[in-house]
């Protein structure tokens, strides 16, 4: 039985984390899994609001109160079924979503009682059900004649494939990497998302009849025209990979690195593979300064800690309040020994003989809000200071990286290089080439995993709609 006053009587309890010392050396997921009694206790805190703000805020509009109730009652398989109705990768969202900015941040209880531990329950439901042998029920699906190719096995591509498969469309996913997941696998460090999770998900997806053609780069190993010929539609979910430049002097000096190649190289290293584009880089014994305040910056600082860096500093130009990343990740990084320098804007990189020695920063104060509502940092005259560093990692975000061949197939881009594929249209996410659809970061610019999944799924509905003619 549920208790109407559980939210008062029982506080929010996150699952236990591994000790910081253990975390500082190992690439293991830091949160230990919930057990059913904790799940029941925590899920029962949900008020089941008339306006489920969690569901409203979630880009996937997950039926959160409904599966919290099922989880509370221990009806895990039903919960898993419901979780998968709106989400392709719930166990991943449960691990990597910035819940404190989305569902848990919007939770009615968040302000005064502590939000319901939505993310961890989601993770528990999915992991437990899959471990118990739960698989999507495909028995009622009748096969359709159409075939769709998906380029990119990241969250958008997988989201699209999931919906198509559930509607009986033969779906083939192409990816240049040896494992599916895109940035989920290669960009997100293992201490947030264990690499076995994606491997398990791959089995589930393959069990649904989705075909993965990995280590295949479209445009090199297979031509796009061949795809257009073989398939009834093609979905592009290729992400954004061009790193934002800091625009500082000596940015190409030895010891200055971009965040994504650094993270990808590290993951390949852990998985025992090798990437020519992103070679492994160890920062052991180094004094590392990471520039930026998003989740990628947090991934970098925490990876550096685990690699055995001597000292890790995160420098960010606004204050802590205005950081774009998840608060939880900042907290975790701090526990692991990362130092934060807020209100520091880098002005130049100092080098000696082509090798980095430090970074000069100027202190800032926050001025008027800009169009997005965030307050602009303004430098304070005369407050320059030098931070010594052996390595500088730039984590300023990503820009679109459209393939050169897009133009050959009439796939229109906007002024920032994003593929034009509007969500609100007769066939959502259709590009200017009617046979080609696109979604995720390459359409909206770099954003959250969960938004990419949502767009991939919506694009699948667009594709299905286009088949109806």
């Amino acid at each position: 039985m549920s208790n109407d006053f559980q939210f008062i009587e029982v506080g929010r309890k996150d699952p236990t984390k591994h000790a910081a010392a253990k975390r500082a050396t190992q690439f293991i997921e830091i949160y230990q899994p919930f057990a059913q009694p904790q799940v029941s206790e925590q899920a029962d805190r949900c008020l089941d609001c008339g306006n489920p703000y969690c569901e409203w805020k979630c880009p996937l509009h997950n039926y959160i109160p409904n599966w919290l109730k099922l989880a509370q009652q221990g009806r895990i398989l039903e919960a898993a079924e419901l979780v998968h109705e709106t989400n392709t990768l719930p166990e991943i969202c449960g691990r990597v979503c910035p819940q404190d900015r989305l569902c848990e941040g919007a939770c009615t209880l968040n302000d005064e009682f502590g939000a319901v531990t939505i993310g961890n329950v989601e993770k528990y439901i999915t992991d437990t059900a899959i471990a118990q042998g739960w698989r999507p029920d495909m028995s009622k699906v009748t096969a359709r004649s159409e075939r769709v190719a998906i380029i990119g096995a990241g969250p958008a591509g997988l989201g699209c494939a999931d919906i198509l498969a559930r509607n009986g469309v033969k779906t083939v996913v192409y990816d240049k990497n040896p494992q599916i997941g895109g940035l989920l696998t290669y960009g997100i460090p293992a201490f947030k998302l264990d690499k076995s999770v994606m491997a398990t998900r791959r089995e589930v997806l393959e069990g649904m009849g989705i075909d993965f053609k990995l280590n295949v780069t479209v445009g090199q190993d297979i031509g796009f025209d061949a795809l257009l010929e073989q398939y009834d539609a093609v979905f592009l979910g290729m992400g954004t990979y061009t790193a934002m430049q800091a625009g500082l002097d000596n940015e190409d000096a030895q010891g200055v690195y971009q965040a994504l190649p650094y993270l990808i190289g590290n993951t390949h290293h852990i998985m025992g593979t090798e990437s020519t584009e992103s070679p492994y880089l160890s920062l052991e014994g180094k004094k590392v300064v990471v520039l930026g305040g998003g989740d990628t910056a947090m991934d970098c600082v925490r990876t550096a800690v685990r690699q055995g860096a001597k000292e890790v500093i995160c420098a960010y130009r606004r204050d802590e309040e205005n950081m774009p990343g998840s608060r939880r990740e900042v907290q975790n990084a701090r526990e692991e020994g990362v130092q934060f320098l807020f209100n520091r804007q880098p002005t130049s990189i100092k080098i000696e003989a082509g090798v980095v020695t430090g970074i000069e920063c100027i202190e800032t104060q926050l001025g008027e809000p800009d169009d997005s509502g965030r307050r602009r940092p303004q430098p304070i005259e005369g407050s320059e200071q030098l931070i010594d560093a052996d390595a500088i990692i730039i984590a300023f975000g990503f820009q679109p990286s459209p393939a050169k061949w897009f133009a050959d197939y009439d796939i229109e881009l906007d002024q920032w290089g994003r593929v034009v594929a509007p969500k609100v249209a007769d066939n959502p996410f259709q590009t200017s080439n009617p046979k080609v659809f696109a979604g995720g970061d390459m359409v909206r610019g770099s954003d959250l995993v969960v938004t990419a999944i949502a767009e991939g799924r919506d694009a699948a509905l667009g594709i299905l709609n286009s088949f109806e003619g």
Binding site: G50, N51, W56, H61, N66, T108, E112, F113, K140
Partner: protein
């Protein structure tokens, strides 16, 4: 109430034949699998069953298919079919389904027209019925019984999934739930047997075209046209297509709670969050974003289909009347203390008082410490439960509102779950903590418009300064009712639309009862104007009003005052959680939980004020654009509204011209409220009494006088009670005021009687003696030397002591029906009663020294009664659902009873009382004690003799 359903051919009642025996009886019109099978297996000589398939080919078309079904039904009925089974069971991928309600309605009409209906029974075997409303619609349009096979199959599938083995019990539970829902629905319409409800068409069709109504729902009211057969068929096609896409999961719904992509909810998270943000930051641009979210929503209400277009040039905003003169047009809608936390309730009052608007107490009484302060609710509500309605409460109001019904749940009273009846709330309502308080559906003193006129007169006598408002719900015919209300001398009428209702309102009512205020407001305004009564009535509207545009549109349709319920609550922190009935409101607004109220309620009156300030500003902007400097000029200008074409095909079929009709104004009338509406009866005797006793009351001296009374003297004593309550207050007259009357009293003798006022009547009295009395003493006895036996003669009319909360009544004679209904504290001795005595009683003591009528003690949760049961028949007359009966065996109780009879004898000189006392030891065995089951016998006297504590925390 009864749902007993008889199936079989009906025959001439006056003709005694065997044929009458061929009928079978079910407890419920909802058939189980076994019921249905049994029915089909009955002897076909008398119960021939034939099935008419409700599936058809798309090529045939819905309308033709329905006509074909009707023809077939007629043919079968003529050839001897008794059980006409309309079934959609044989559905398949390439068939379409006729909606069961349409088929039933059409077949019913044909059978009635052909005089065949009594020969046949319409049994519906359908997948489409699952909630009580679905069943009610089928029954209301003619179904005899319904077999909801898909509901059962769903239950069976779910039980398999959950590993529950008692499937049969689950199905019985489902049926029990539906039965309960049906009873509730029937009770809202005042119908007690399903036989009366069947074919009664207690519905309004909103959004159906004339041809659909003519064929399928003939006789039902339909005012704005709407969907035709083609559009309904398209809907069915969509459903049909989905039904056969087995791989698609079932949709999550969204009807009751917000679900993205589901039903549009007017208070969705965006709206609530933006509203709270603009009030928190006091930011007008954010407020405009809120109004944009509301005004530009996908069309969700009738007003969304109207656009405002004036014919004047715009003026500058400085030329528009100030916000200060707009605020008096704004009221907060009735929400009781009890439903709201005391803090939230007070904050609303403070906000409205500071602003110059008015807050509404709701029906739960109010802590007297709030009177005469900024925390006082200017509007005091009188609802069917009469909780906390005392003389003192009534005189501390600017407006007295009689809640005839509530838009969100017409036909139902307020319902406060036991968890929310805290000690404080119980004290305010003279009830017991923890006991659920359900206000009865009707006012027990209003059965006709004359009764309402009497109640209005009662209120005007006790508080001559107050405006009397009557709250009605938007429903077809409300215009006629409103005209009657105006003629009954009300000053204000509130038309309440179907939006609104807190999370404690029953879901079926929120979703299926009531109608949009646009329809009701237009009808009332038009009929008041046409009848030359509009200038005497201040017309208010409430129900889901949110923005300046809502107010402007309502004004153009005839409203000059506006009630706001949900928005002020959201301003106080409510996040629209819809859990108000659970007492666990996390924002502390709708809970009595101490911890939540103390630590998590952060409502500020300023936020509420900011909302009204912003809205007034927005209204003034609209007025400037319309070239109107005085709000008054907007009221009733429906010619400034025009209907949009609508976005969907269904919307395009609507005809809203009836709403926009502008009636001619008769001479001497106006489009707006111009004057008060004083009663023609001046209450002369009351004036005489006040004039005589005034000084003594004010000086705190005793007073004695004698008057002759006539049955045209109504509400006698109310004027003086009002004067006592106003000048002295809650405790009543400091020294006894004794009035003696000779003659036959008119209605409402001693109504709202205040403490300290003792009235003695030698003669007899009409209805409503001591109604709402909170103290003092009323004594009625026949003139000396009357020949009749008092215990066999009626001395009081009906509905005496209704809603009384204190005082004493002694009457040497019988009282009428509904004696001491909702009594919460008065002590009474009478010598006999009519039916329904002591119904819903929550406190007080009633002694009946003679026969009672039936249904005694129904819904009684407090107080107790002694009944003299000379012939041992009382057990047939008591309703033992909530009460049990005992012998008066304990010496203390015997002594107590004896004391009361002695007092009665002293007061009235009753021969009957004397006879009982003379041989009390013998007669005591004939007395029965009736008490609520939830109170222990030994606690009765203690509970009734302790004073309720009035200690609500003042915020």
């Amino acid at each position: 109430m009864s749902l007993a359903t008889c199936i079989g051919r009906e025959q001439n009642l006056f003709n005694e034949t065997m044929g009458h025996a061929y009928r079978v009886m079910f407890d419920s019109p909802v058939l189980l699998f076994s019921d249905f099978n049994q029915l089909l297996a009955l002897d076909s000589t008398y119960y021939r069953a034939n099935t008419v398939d409700l599936n058809y080919d798309l090529a045939e078309g819905l309308e033709t298919a329905i006509k074909r079904v009707c023809d077939e039904a007629e043919r079968l009925a003529r050839t001897g079919t008794t059980l006409l089974i309309l079934s959609d069971r044989a559905t398949s991928k390439n068939k379409q389904v006729i909606p069961a309600a349409m088929a039933v309605g059409a077949v019913q009409r044909v059978l009635v027209d052909q005089s065949l209906r009594c020969d046949t029974n319409i049994i519906v075997e359908t997948a489409s019925a699952r909630d009580p409303h679905h069943f009610a619609v089928l029954l209301g349009f003619g179904a005899t019984a319904i077999y909801p096979y898909l509901a059962y199959e769903s239950i069976s599938a779910l039980s398999l999934k959950h590993g529950v083995t008692e499937t049969q019990k689950l199905m019985l539970n489902f049926r029990q739930g539906i039965d309960k829902g049906l009873r509730k629905i029937m009770s809202k319409m005042g119908i007690s047997t399903v036989g009366s409800y069947r074919c009664s068409q207690q519905f309004e069709a909103i959004g159906l075209s004339t041809d659909v109504v003519e064929l399928c729902f003939k006789g039902v009211i339909s005012r704005i046209e709407g969907a035709n057969f083609d559009l309904l068929e398209k809907d069915q096609q969509v459903l049909q297509k989905l039904a056969f896409q087995k791989h698609q999961p079932l949709p999550q719904g969204g009807l009751l709670k917000y679900v993205e992509g589901g039903e549009y909810h007017c208070f969705n998270p965006d709206v609530v969050n933006t509203l709270q943000a603009c009030l928190r930051d006091k930011d007008y641009p954010t407020y405009k974003r809120f109004t944009q979210l509301v005004d530009d929503r996908t069309i969700a209400t009738l007003r969304d289909l109207f656009v405002v277009k004036g014919d004047k040039d715009a003026i500058t905003i400085d030329q528009v009347e100030g916000a200060d003169t707009l605020y008096p047009r704004f009221d907060s809608a009735a929400m009781s203390i009890g439903a709201l936390s005391p803090e939230a309730h007070e904050a609303l009052a403070v906000a409205m008082n500071r602003l110059g608007g008015r807050s509404n107490s709701g029906e739960g009484g109010e802590d007297p410490s709030r009177f005469n302060s900024v925390r006082n609710s200017a509007i005091k509500q009188i609802a069917s439960g009469r909780f906390g309605v005392t003389a003192h409460y009534l005189v501390n109001a600017e407006v007295l509102q009689i809640k005839v019904a509530q838009g969100a749940k017409p036909g139902e009273g307020g319902q406060l779950p036991g968890d929310k009846v805290s000690v404080e709330i119980a004290a305010l309502r003279n009830a017991r903590p923890g006991v659920t308080l359900i206000s009865p559906p009707p006012h027990h003193d209003i059965y006709s418009i004359e009764d309402l006129a009497q109640l209005i007169f009662d209120l005007k006598q006790i508080n001559p300064k107050a405006l009397i408002s009557v709250k009605l719900v938007s429903e077809p015919g409300v215009g006629t009712i409103a005209t009657g209300v105006a003629k009954a001398y009300a000053d204000m009428i509130t038309i309440s639309g179907y939006d609104g209702g807190t999370g404690a309102s029953p879901i079926t009512s929120v979703k299926y009862a009531g109608s949009p205020w646009e329809l009701g407001l237009a009808e009332v305004h038009q009929s008041l104007v046409a009848n030359g009564l509009r200038h005497k009535i201040r017309l208010q509207v409430d129900g889901g009003l949110k923005t300046g545009a809502d107010v402007i549109k309502a004004a153009l349709l005839g409203a000059e005052s506006f009630g706001f319920g949900t928005v002020p609550m959201i301003a106080l922190g409510c996040k629209y959680l819809r859990i108000c009935h659970l007492n666990n409101c996390a924002t502390g607004v709708a809970t009595q939980n101490k911890q939540l109220r103390d630590n998590h309620y952060h409502g500020l009156p300023e936020r509420v004020m900011t909302y009204f300030e912003f809205m007034a500003q927005e209204i003034r902007e609209y007025m400037a654009a319309l070239g109107v400097s005085e709000f008054e000029q907007l009221v009733g200008r429906s010619d400034w509204l025009s209907a949009l074409e609508g976005v969907t095909e269904k919307q395009q079929q609507l005809d809203l011209s009836a709403i926009l009709f502008k009636p001619d104004i008769p001479a001497g009338c106006a489009l707006t409220w111009q004057e008060t509406n004083p009663t023609s009866d001046q209450g002369e005797l009351n004036q005489t009494i006040i004039a005589a006793a005034k000084e003594a009351v004010e000086q705190g001296e005793t007073f004695k006088a004698c008057f002759n009374i006539n049955n045209t003297d109504r509400s006698v004593g109310a004027g003086l009670s009002g004067h006592i309550a106003t000048t002295v207050g809650l405790q009543g007259a400091k020294a006894p005021v004794n009035l003696r009357f000779n003659g036959s009293a008119g209605q409402s003798f001693g109504v709202w009687n205040a403490p300290g006022l003792n009235m003695e009547l030698c003669g007899d009295a009409n209805d409503y003696v001591g109604k709402g009395m909170s103290g003092g003493k009323l004594t009625v006895y026949p003139p000396l030397g009357s020949m009749f036996q008092s215990e066999r003669s009626v001395i009081l009319g009906n509905t005496c002591l209704y809603g009384a909360s204190g005082g004493k009544l002694f009457a040497a004679g019988k009282a009428g029906e509904r004696f001491a209904v909702r009594n919460s504290g008065a002590i009474a001795v009478v010598e006999g009663l009519g039916d329904n005595g002591c119904e819903y009683m929550t406190g007080g003591i009633v002694v009946v020294l003679g026969k009672t009528g039936v249904n005694f003690g129904a819904g009684m949760t407090g107080g107790f009664a002694y009944v003299f049961d000379r012939f041992g028949h009382f057990n047939r007359r008591v309703n033992t659902e909530m009460v049990d009966t005992h012998k008066v065996s304990s010496p203390i109780q015997q002594q107590h009873l004896k004391g009361l009879i002695e007092e009665h004898l002293n007061e009235t000189g009753s021969e009957h009382a004397k006879m009982l006392l003379n041989d009390f030891e013998n007669w005591i065995d004939c007395f029965v004690l009736i008490k609520p089951k939830n109170v222990a016998l030994n606690d009765l006297l203690r509970l009734e003799q302790s004073q309720p504590e009035l200690s609500v925390v003042a915020g």
